[in-house]
Structures are given as structure tokens and as C-alpha cells.
Symmetry: C2
Subunit: 336 residues, 2 copies
């Protein structure tokens, strides 16, 4: 099992990536991590540690900045760590890749290579959202901001396989993000997508529309949405969480005296549980090979979790399950 790690990606450079790789190989005996990046920076970091498992370095002389325009950056920097990760995946030198670098560039690399799973029209990023009942898969959260109805139907299929694999839900319920519960709500794309789910091959599993307030209620196991809305929701959850935890710290914990430390400890438990590093990364589903996208602010824990999750997705054959589920769909005439 070989996972390429974009060692230059993220806001904090190679440090958390190398540290995360070290922890990942220590945790999974069948795992080799391939660090992709500048050997001059990576070798000393590895030399300091004594890796408990195999870590290799594949040189990449360039880095795509976090604020560069994705496709332009990839074109100008063919030897960037992101481009190199994709080349390793395309050449089947690795089973998966993990990057905390420029998300747009990671996605663009996948779109450019066009190594999609058979039958999949467009890949989508799936994230896990916490709910009162456990977790919900939401996709797409940023790969495809202007999808077609068929893309969204495929997201329903891929999200269901992901929910089965990650959450152990045998028959996941699918909801469509909308501005109201009733049929007929939303714009043209969403209305057409609703019809495709309601009368199509996934109708048994289709719950109907869900609203923003339902995301954390666990009413469905998979929420399908376009990459614009999904991205806003994912980041908004992070923003509201930070805002509210600040307020709770000030107003609730600030009101206490003798039990303040107990409350602080409990709140830090919550913060740690819901911090993005607990999930590690979000997979770009629909790619031939596993591609795990991490938050730019990823720390060591996030990288470790992302690498281990990527390895797990390979082990369980997530892609074979997706390919089979897509192949089982009847032919759908597209409304382009």
C-alpha cells in the first residue's frame, strides 16, 4: 500500500506533513508513504526522526502557492509537488495521494488527467458533517461549482458508497440541498435534479429536499449539493463553530468561578472532537485512485488521519464499489 503525500502543501509547509507521515507509517504496518517535495527540506526532517515504517522521497522542485490560480499554476509548474503526486497516481506508482495544498490545483490536476472511474462524469469532494445522530456525507464541497443534474445523481451514488464504507450504513438515505422541503423549490438545476432522483434508479433511497437547518439533524445520510453551496456550507460550519465556541467561552464559562476549569476542559473536548483535523481530509470521489484533500491549515494529526483514511479507502476497495454502483445505473438520457 503506497500513498503519495504532497509534502509541500498546506499553510505550514513540510513540517506537519513529515510529522503526519511518520505517525501514519507507525500506525499502519502495510503502509509506505511517498513524500513528494524538495529533498533539501525533507531529508533533514526525516533524518531527525527514526521512521517506524517505510518513507520514501520523490523530488519535486516547484510548489503551487495557496493563492495561485489552479490551472495556470499547474501549467506553469509541471514539476510542482501537486503535479508530481498526480503523475505518481497516473503511473500507478502509488494507490492514493494526499494534499493539504491549493485545493483548486489538486482538483484541477485530477480533471486535467481525466482518470475518472468508469462511468463517472465528474468527480466530487465528499466531506463528513457531524450530526446529532452521528455523521452525514455531504458532496460536492468544491470540485464542481456548476454541475449538471447527472453529476449530482452520480454524487448520490458515490456518496452512498462512501456512507456505506465509512459510516457502516447499509441503505443510506439521500437528501437534496434546497431552499425548502417541498417539491418544486429551487432553481432549474435543482428541480431537474430532484426529478432525476425522484423518478430515477435511486428513488427508493431518495428522501427529498433538505434545508440548511437539517444538515446537523441527521435526517439523511448523504446530502447532495453543487460544489458552490457545499463549499460555503462546509466553511460556514467551521465559522459558526468558532464564533459560538468563542461566545460560550466568554458568556458561559466566563460566568463560572469554582467549576471554570471543568467547563474549560469539557469545551476543549468538544473543540478537539469537531476540529477539522479529526476528519483529516475529504476524498475527491470518482477518481481512479484515492485522492484525499486536506484543509490548508492541517496539522500533524490531520495529515496522519488523512493518510490513514486514504489507505483504508484503498484496502476496502472503495473505488470498485463505486464503479459497480455506477455501472448498475440504467442509461440516463442527459439534458445538457
Amino acid at each position: 500500500m503506497r500513498i503519495a503525500l504532497d509534502a509541500m502543501g498546506g499553510d505550514h509547509g513540510p513540517g506537519p506533513n513529515v510529522a503526519g507521515a511518520l505517525r501514519a507509517v507507525a500506525a499502519a504496518p502495510d503502509l509506505t508513504v511517498v513524500l513528494v517535495g524538495d529533498p533539501v527540506q525533507l531529508q533533514p526532517l526525516l533524518a531527525e526522526a527514526s521512521p517506524a515504517g517505510p518513507i520514501e522521497i520523490v523530488p519535486a522542485s516547484e510548489v503551487v502557492g495557496m493563492h495561485e490560480k489552479p490551472s495556470e499554476a499547474l501549467r506553469k509548474k509541471p514539476d510542482s509537488s501537486i503535479a508530481k503526486c498526480w503523475q505518481l497516481l497516473a503511473g500507478q506508482k502509488v494507490d492514493g495521494l494526499v494534499s493539504a495544498g491549493n485545493t483548486g490545483a489538486v482538483v484541477a490536476g485530477g480533471l486535467f488527467l481525466k482518470r475518472f472511474l468508469k462511468g463517472v462524469r465528474r468527480p466530487g469532494i465528499a466531506a463528513l458533517m457531524p450530526t446529532v445522530k452521528g455523521k452525514t456525507v455531504i458532496l460536492d464541497v468544491g470540485a464542481n461549482v456548476w454541475p449538471k443534474p447527472l453529476h449530482l445523481l452520480h454524487y448520490g451514488v458515490m456518496g452512498s458508497e462512501y456512507a456505506r464504507a465509512m459510516l457502516g450504513i447499509e441503505n443510506p438515505k439521500i437528501g437534496l440541498m434546497n431552499v425548502g422541503e417541498e417539491e418544486g423549490k429551487g432553481h432549474d438545476l435543482i428541480q431537474k435534479t430532484y426529478d432525476l432522483f425522484r423518478s430515477g434508479p435511486l428513488k427508493e433511497r431518495f428522501f427529498g429536499n433538505v434545508e440548511g437547518r437539517d444538515v446537523h439533524k441527521g435526517v439523511v445520510d448523504v446530502i447532495v449539493t453543487d460544489g458552490f453551496v457545499g463549499n460555503v456550507v462546509l466553511k460556514h460550519a467551521e465559522g459558526v463553530f468558532e464564533f459560538l465556541m468563542g461566545l460560550v467561552g466568554q458568556e458561559v464559562i466566563g460566568a463560572l468561578t469554582t467549576e471554570r476549569d471543568i467547563a474549560k476542559k469539557a469545551m476543549h473536548g468538544l473543540i478537539s472532537k469537531f476540529h477539522h483535523s479529526a476528519a483529516g481530509g475529504a476524498p475527491l470521489l470518482g477518481i481512479d485512485g484515492i485522492c484525499m484533500i486536506c484543509h490548508g491549515a492541517s496539522d500533524e494529526r490531520a495529515i496522519t488521519n488523512a493518510v490513514l483514511t486514504a489507505a483504508q479507502d484503498v484496502r476496502i476497495g472503495l473505488n470498485a464499489r463505486i464503479t459497480a454502483a455506477i455501472a448498475a445505473l440504467p442509461a440516463i438520457t442527459e439534458d445538457e
Copy 2:
């Protein structure tokens, strides 16, 4: 000052509407509330109370249900309380209207009458979001799910006037909701809108893109977005709030013993402060006359606040300010 109140609107029927009207007229001596609805239900509720100010009843024999299709319902029920409220506004019998009824039907009533302010192409609903620095105006949150760039530019203008009036911010900063900070992010509509803000008449006040995680940071005073994204964000904020307050109650307050009641009281303070009833309603900006849209679950406090805010918007001449600001825009060639 006369405000029509859809007395039949909302999840709880006439009760909270009548109670809210009673409190509103008690608080504002210049205010007359016109209750629009079924006199058989309304008269006993009024007779029980002794109104501290003028309350009138205008009969409406029909009610649009919360789950009816908006335009169909309005067509089939010309004597519904929502349709009657709009007729009163169109006939200048009232200065504004307030409804906790079917939001789609309230908006559809406004679009159907087409009594827009001069120069405004499409009305939009503006909501106030709490931030670490105070409040941010976000619009549209559901009237226009498929806007054009010029609509969004107008939302920037109207949102700025609303921020001036409601938040006392002289030169509001405008942000465009997007999937990343950098120019060039997002789909075609958003890219065109970005260019219109960046190079157009509002360029001095345009901050650039904002992301979901920025909503509650107070980085801008006005967030412009399409009605689909805005609606999802508004409802998602409500959902995350409910989810997190539940967790804080369980995990943080549940960990306490001697100071549990102090913490509970502080948390209820937070819940009350951020509950939707504190804001009361969200105005449909761009309409000739004030139209305030309330949450379906509005209680007495929400209705009172919505009626008082509508009255205040009339008093300060919000619409005259919007009309002047729209008139001050240079002619813009539309890309339809």
C-alpha cells in the same frame, strides 16, 4: 403609520400574531396595526385584550398554507390574507406589511404586483447575521435563487443602505460570497458579478470575495449572494446553533455540579440573544412599501419586533434612501 399584519401567517396561527400586534401598538404611539385575516378568529382574541393602541381588522377569508406552491396558491386564493396584505400596500392603505406566512407566497405576491422601487430590477430579502464585531447584512436569503449580476449589484446598493440605517455604518464594506478569496473563483455568475463590483460604481466599497467561514467574523458589513446560497446559509446558521447549544448543554454544562445553574442561565441568555425572534423579520428590499418576512415559527416577540422594525423602516425613509442610491448608479449595460 399603518402596518398590515398577516394575522393568519406562521406555524401557530393567529395567536402570536394578535399578541405581537398588541405589544407593538403599546410600544409605538404613532402605530396602527391592521390585522388581516378571519374576523371570527381575530375578534375574540382582541376582545379578550384591551389594546393600548389602534388595531383594525381587515377580513380575508382564505389562508395560504405553509407548504402550498406559492404562485399557484396566490392564484387560487385571491382572498387570502397574504394577497389582501399586498392589496392594502398597493392601494396605499398601509405603509408596510408583515407576514410569518409562506415566504414564497409573500415574495410571489410582491413580484406579481411588480411595485418595485424605481430602478430596482429584483427585490431581495436582507437578513442580519451576528458577528464577533456586531452584525452583518446578508442578501438575498431566498427571494431570487437564480439572479443576474445586475441584481446582485443592486443587492450591494440596497444592503449598504440597510446597513447604514440599521447598523449606523456610514461606509459599509461589501463582500461577495464565494468559494475562495481569490479573484477568478466561483462560477460564471459570480465571476461576472465580481467584475461588476470591482470595476463598477461600488468599487470603493467592494472588499472582494468572502467565504463561508467569514460570515460571522465581521470582515464586511454587507454580504451579497444569490437567494439559494443565502437561504441555505441563513438556515444552516440556525441549524449549527441548535446543534452546538445542545452539545454544550450535554458536554459542558453536564460536566458541572455546583455551578450548573449559573451556566444554564448564561446559556439561555445566549440562546435568547441569537434566537430568530430577536430580529423579528427580514425585509424584502426593493419593494415600494415595507415588506417584512418572518420565520414561520415566529412567536409573539418575533412579531412585535418585526412590526416595530417595519414601522422604523418607514419612519427613517429607508426606501427613499434606496431609490436615491440606485438612481445615483451610472447606466450599466446588462449582460443578459
